[in-house]
Subunit: 320 residues, 3 copies
């Protein structure tokens, strides 16, 4: 009964703010972060997300996304336009998530834990300025996506070095039915960077030639969820030093009730002298009291240092 | 008749943009600032406010606010989530106005003068990242609010020093009827600051231990308005120097016509060597031609320096 | 038939998001920029525009505009309020486009080429904080606009030097009928600048006394379009050096089909030792597949340097 009130509001909201050609969304998430011992920062409160998004598509052909955050500057997150000449083909240009990792391409309101895995944060290719082609086979079983990007994120709203980043991905969808879905994918990224980014993750601040290969899977069966991802990098600095940072995560999840979920993750990353290693186990509990609200509790236990460096995180989000 | 046109538009706007679960608001205010002699700055034009806000509550239980300004960066003003398990109790987390001063908690479009009083600007606790509990007695006569905050405003979206700011407030509502309302309140704030904020008001840039006590009242009776507030501070620097900055304002207002109001304020602040003293009389005239527009004229006469340093301000705002 | 689908969506969108008193608009434009040889920057992708706008007018009397970009900070573009006591008179204050050039006052989604002309970018007066009066003769044949502005754009949200910029413009509309329109105008701007802007165009970064005179015309007849503009400047530096930068453009356009247009422009600017000269021919092709989408291709051939410095630009925009 309580749930049906929310459903009615959801329907009204849907009619009011969501059309094919215009949809307004927003996401706010507050966070409390506590650690008995800290390497950096202080215990306290943060805002994770404070965003709004305009999106839509005209006549199922010409679509757009404009997403902005209130928390940093410039505030742009997504600003792109896409064209679908036929239903299985989409050509997109502007600023958007490059087609590389499974977890990074999962939306901020839908990721399993409060933070993404270390390997995705360190080696994943993020939002880029560029152009991509995205296509499905007619039976929707296979998807191929490839694009050319500036390679330096939104940095300065231009290409920092005249070189481009090339990214390609193949995905297969197996056994999509009412109680189970399965997805596997493999992706590759290559770029030459003459100008390292002043900020960002390892792969965007490194200078030199870098190739990344990633592979991932995601399985939902009844109440069970399994997903995992591995990214391996070949990075060659201008003085011919080669580095091979890599990492992976593996997640198991179980729906304890229809509105709550327990999660466990092995999260591992090897920075190979470019940045620190990180190994940890993450336990998570998600509670979804209604369609618009989610509570997340995470406990991160480092397995490569003392338990005092454990991290307790509590986040609450509202969004639609 | 003219007024009824605006009322019709207001109703349409209300239906169109204001729902329980989603409400869009905005506020724009332009300002002209002239002084015969100036200590700083130049005569000219400014924009005071250029903001929009998304807010709502689902099933009267899960609410949110997201407010952003176009005039500074990061643009976040409010980003918070609240939960009302019962109607007299609200638990709020994220970024929001800490429960301390009467005038600071009055919204930007509703404050009496163009600027807030000096004591509120200097010693008032402002927006903070944290968590608060807000509760009313069942007869709605008394309200108690208390919270724990990072204590360094939005600065860096984290806690600058690991210490927290504790704020509590008690409010009483007396004689609420159709022609008169009265409110009195008392509030206290305590924090230890190891890292002074690089910008903000006196209480946020001071380093050391600081306790603030405030008290205020606000009375509306027929066409008459009276309000006032006093804040007193105990500030102890790390080398055991103690300072007691304090200040107060007292305002009298009279509704000359249903759409215009005359105001007079005594505004006093003593910075006790931490910052300059300030004593002035502010005369104000507000004109509200319709529900969406307000014109404000302010004349500020300093009583502690020559009349040439008087300040003439004219502001016009549109918002809903 | 395809076009009628878009028209239906346009009508629904109009009803949904566009009222007299509240209208939401947005504009996203992605750009690819390639040159065989470059003086500065690198070939790659950019975002030109990522904006949203709230605007409206209550009872045809009190209006507002709030426009923000996601691409820079502070994000404010327009923040103004206007009052129309009678239909032929408007008084506007806040931040808005100062009434000087024809092309700069043409909206971002409607300008003919991807970039505005060099003379308008270098000598045109841009958005300013101030106040203006805008009036039409009763037959709508003549329009006079004049205003007083801070003179340093939005820089710091204040007047940088206490001097004001005075701008006036007269426009005449000739032969407005169903197949042809014609407009001519002349404008003047004068200011004394004690503090040069740290960024902006030539006229805003110059220090000293400066007077600018501009004149323009714009003719649409059947499928033909002709427009042009000239701006001439008198700039006197504090050490009595005088400079006379000036420039002009002339454009011819032809509607090849109802949804596509060919354009040719002569674009010339003489910086007179204050900044570089620039002479080029710009060829453009615009394609408008529907009311919300526009594709622009531009080829810029410099006539004062080698053809290798030619610039190829492709832009796609979605907006409403």
């Amino acid at each position: 009964q309580d749930q049906s009130k929310f459903n009615k509001q959801a329907d009204k909201l849907q009619q009011h703010l969501k059309n094919d050609f215009f949809s307004l969304s927003f996401l706010v998430q507050g966070l409390a972060d506590f650690r008995p011992e800290r390497v950096a920062g202080h215990n306290g409160f943060n805002i994770n997300y404070g965003r709004f998004k305009l999106s839509g598509i005209f006549d199922n052909k010409f679509g757009y996304n404009l997403q902005a955050t209130m928390l940093k500057s410039p505030s742009v997150i997504d600003a792109n336009i896409y064209f679908k000449p036929i239903s299985n083909l989409s050509i997109k240009t502007g600023l958007f998530k490059s087609p590389f990792t499974h977890e990074y391409l999962t939306g901020a309101s839908s990721i399993l834990f409060i933070d993404r895995s270390v390997v995705v944060n360190q080696l994943g290719t993020k939002r880029q300025l560029g152009i991509q082609v995205d296509t499905y086979t007619s039976n929707q079983r296979f998807r191929f996506t490839g694009g050319v990007f500036n390679g330096n994120n939104y940095g300065g709203n231009n290409n920092a070095d005249g070189h481009f980043q090339y990214i390609g991905r193949a995905e297969a969808y197996l056994g999509q039915n009412s109680t189970s879905t399965a997805k596997v994918g493999v992706s590759i990224s290559h770029e030459q960077k003459d100008t390292p980014a002043t900020s960002g993750n390892l792969q965007s601040t490194f200078q030199g030639k870098q190739t990344l290969i990633g592979s991932y899977f995601s399985i939902n069966q009844n109440k069970l969820l399994l997903d995992g991802e591995i990214i391996y990098g070949w990075m060659e600095s201008p003085n011919d030093q080669e580095y091979n940072p890599y990492g992976y995560y593996f997640t198991a999840g179980y729906d304890v009730t229809p509105v709550s979920q327990l999660l466990l993750r092995w999260d591992s990353f090897s920075g190979e002298s470019l940045t620190g290693d990180m190994d940890s186990i993450v336990a998570g509990f998600n509670y979804v009291p209604n369609k618009f609200t989610k509570l997340k509790l995470n406990y991160i236990l480092p397995t490569d240092r003392a338990a005092e460096y454990s991290n307790f995180l509590a986040a609450i989000q509202i969004g639609f």
